[in-house]
Amino acid sequence: MSLEMTAGPPPSRRVKLPPQLLGSWEAGMLVFMAFLYLAGVLINPAFFGTTDAISAVLRDTARFGVMAVGMTFVIVNRDLDLSVGSTLGLVAVSFSILFAPTHLNLDAGTAMLICIGLGLLVGLINGLLVAILRVPPFIATLTMLFIGRGVVLGLTGGKTISYEIKARDYGFFAFGETNALGFNNQILIFLVFAIAGAVLLAKTRIGYETYATGGNDQAAQYAGINTRWVRIRAFLLSSLCAAVAGLMNVAQDKGVTSQYGQGAELIVIAAVIVGGASIAGGRGRVLGACLGAALVVLIDKVLREGVPTTRVIDVGGVKMEVAAMAQLPPGAVPAFLGLLLLGAVLLEPVVVRGNVLGRLKAWLLRQEAPASHDSGGIAIVGVKTMGAASDARGVGLRGFRAFLHRRDAAAIILMVVLWAAGFWLRPDFWGSLDNSFNLLLAFTEIGLLSLGLTYVIANGDIDLSVGSVLALSGAVAAFTMKELGGDPATAVVLALAAGVACGLFNGWLTAKIGMPAFVATLGMFYIARGLAAWLVSGRQLSAFPETYNLLGRNLSVVLESFGIHATGTFAAVARAVSVQTLFLAVVAGIAAVVLGATSFGQKVYATGGNERAASYAGINTQRVRLLSLVFSSLCAAAAGVIYVAYYRSFNPAAGQLRELDAIASVIIGGGSIFGGYGTIIGSLAGAAVITLIRALLSLQIFMSDGSSFVMPQHWMNVFIGLILLAAVIGDIWLRQNNIVSEWKRRRQARAQARHDTRATGVAA
């Protein structure tokens, strides 16, 4: 994805190649950190006033810093690795399983080597997906994040593994201990990685190749640099660092929970960007990233430690004042870190290049504002001629063969096949009313999310925040009814308004500011879920008015609440169809007509196909992209409202991993991750495919020997992740590059060439 941010004139003073070790940016960060720490001391002297606090901050910085070293290489390459937190967790869990006496009981050295190998394998997969199979890095590594998380949960079953006693016999665990000099050995490991990484990036050919690849991939290729290998190498490095961080973690804790590394990617990416790297590639320093890690960890600590307060409690009629900590509820911290990430991304292009400080000063002194950069409007140049692709597929075909050439044909066929497969596996159960009802319900949530995403993806953007917005909207609805005592209608309106607000924020960052959609919505991914957790204080809320819950009931319940009793066939239908299914049908109908038959839909496709061409044609592409993102968030918010009504409760984990399902639905249904394609029918068929796969995987299968088997939920998420990757790769290589007909053409050409040489041979 190219960035408008890189297009302006380069800031002349700050870019010095080869990058020197410490610049003004780093110095500024050090000063800021000192102030932040002082603030921490003032607010919470009990914690930050001790040397323990300094060593705790440094110890935690060490792990994130090691990961930031690897991540710097990836980001300088203009890639992104969202899987580091997952890799950390995966390595920590794998080590524990290999080492723990309750499990495989290997020795520490072997377990460590296997884990390093595992980390490198994850990096290799990331690298191959991105550099060879050309899957956009955010989608490849996000899927790896979910797959890794699913494997971790599947392996541990959500339980804790600990091996404190066995660990005493192994020197390996000294890596996580405080040494004789009074500081933790992890800090030493961090120093080694930081220095090695800094020298590697600033002073060696590897670093030079990395900057070249991130600055201009094509120019680097022309210069003879194997940019594919450079990118794979960065992913290997990043995963290796994550693996080392995972090992540091188990060395310290001598045990593991399934939560290890959750959200670590956010801290690491924020650290690297805060450290002066550009999300647009080609810029960044290891030492900046390390200081960034310290800064972000410090912020994280300040947020988590809380502020000491006194609280008045009532014990048996006696009022007592007790010391307490005003703490953020669990899960709320990512909201701030997400904001920090977005702020860090905006810092360079908007504040530094846009000369915000200069303009602010001029405004304060009532002087004339300094001229902003005249970017010279939209460039006419930039040849993008694809050349002749003479294969006019599907043109002039009629009937079924024309259908087969539709981009959404595969999804529709797959849907039918999967449904038939379910009937074949469980004829006793599959066709029943209960099952149909459950399938439709599961379908509604994914379908609703995929409606909005169809617009966003057709626009060439992405919305990673749908699952989190679902949670936020549900939290708002639950909070309104439970804590504010609002009536159901107010709750629904506020929940939808929260969704619209998220969408506007996403759209403003993406369309107006020019931030890549995956970064903006990744920020929202954390912000919305953090806010949701904050609103409900990380608890599950339930017991809402029954009129609200009707939104998630089937029609016969709704009718009965109005005193109408259905009979006959109508009753059967009314039991299978619920309010949310009808709602989905209505919204889908409108969305399909708008996208497929109106000029707004045409604008969406044109913007996704060639944004510049669209804007020349008089289309306000910013508005189109903003509206699409708002619609996507609105759909997610509606799904959140329905979620709460259906379950009669709200859980902060609502909608987790749903973005995966929804993106997969749209891509399977004919959308392209590069924009310009996608239909509502296709996306709904894709959503049906995902629903059916989930349903099939969770079917209880009876073996011939009478035993039965059900796949656990975690492994199912791994499977869905694999399907998303397969769908994206299939789209890139089968639909876009048409590798099959290319292969056929080459084979024919080769056969022809053989034939020709034989013919000339005979003639001679």
């Binding site: 001229a371 950069h373 005249d374 010279g376 409007g377 939209i378 006419i380 140049v381 930039g382 040849v383 993008k384 001629t385 694809m386 050349g387 002749a388 692709a389 003479s390 294969d391 006019a392 597929r393 043109v395 007509v593 038959a597 109106t598 000029s599 839909g601 045409q602 604008k603 496709y605 044109a606 996704g608 196909g609 060639n610 510049r612 061409a613 669209a614 804007s615 020349y616 044609a617 008089g618 289309i619 392209s672 924009g675 310009g676 394609y677």
Partner: protein, 246 residues
């Protein structure tokens, strides 16, 4: 009859002066070749006429009306069409959809207004026939050859009664046979009374189809004369600065 008259048009980007005091007139049905080295100001001048950005100073009169464009759509609404160097086509849409991009034909279907694909296909097919191009209206643009893509971009200019068509390097990225097709298309535009400003680096193209040649050098106009009274050698000398002005 004068169609477009530029007076003292200039453009500065910060401290950089891209264009200085350009006067230029274009008559209806005239093909003007705009030539100059890289950085001479051709693209800047075309972008000002096309409404990509406003001039720093100077006046523009089109069809006897003073005009101020701030967006491409403003220029198009008075009858100035542009064929961009990269054609500015959306690869994922059909030829007809590209021709009608931003001004789709619609019909009412009950309460909603929907796109009239059939009418757009018919109209686009007629335009392609008029341009004697083999392009099919319902083909996707991504499956087309360079010449067919040119035809789509040019058909777009014929949709409304355009009066002036700006063409930015239309022959830069296509094969020799397709160049001939494009030059034919330009002649057909001229025969229909439409003025064309052709920006090109290719001397033969300019001398084949243009009535007049304008040469820019370092932001200033150094020549503006009928094609018959000039020669490729003279224009080359003007572009490089070997000859000061003509």
């Amino acid at each position: 009859m004068t169609l477009l008259r530029l007076r003292g048009i200039g453009k500065e980007f910060g401290a950089i002066r891209a264009l200085a005091e350009i006067d230029l007139t274009v008559a209806a049905g005239e093909v003007v070749g705009l030539m100059g080295d890289n950085g001479a100001g051709k693209s800047t001048l075309v972008k000002i006429i096309a409404g990509n950005f406003p001039p720093s100073h100077g006046t523009m009169i089109f069809d006897d009306q003073p005009v101020h464009f701030s967006r491409p759509i403003d220029a198009r609404s008075v009858g100035i069409e542009v064929v961009y160097q990269d054609l500015a086509l959306a690869d994922n849409l059909t030829a007809a959809a590209n021709v009608f991009l931003g001004r789709e034909l619609k019909r009412r279907l009950g309460p909603v207004t929907v796109l009239d694909h059939a009418a757009m296909n018919r109209r686009a097919a007629a335009l392609f026939q008029e341009l004697k191009s083999e392009t099919r209206a319902d083909d996707l643009v991504r499956q087309m050859s360079g010449g067919q893509r040119q035809a789509v971009a040019i058909a777009r200019t014929r949709l409304k009664e355009a009066k002036l068509v700006l063409m930015d390097e239309p022959t830069a990225a296509i094969s020799v046979r397709q160049v001939a097709e494009v030059l034919d298309l330009i002649r057909r535009l001229r025969d229909a009374g439409i003025a064309v400003i052709l920006i090109s680096h290719r001397m033969p193209d300019v001398f084949t189809v243009c009535d007049r040649v304008v040469v820019l050098r370092r932001g200033s106009k150094v020549a503006d004369k009928p094609i018959q009274s000039s020669s490729p050698e003279e224009v080359t000398a003007l572009i490089t600065g070997a000859k000061e002005a003509a």
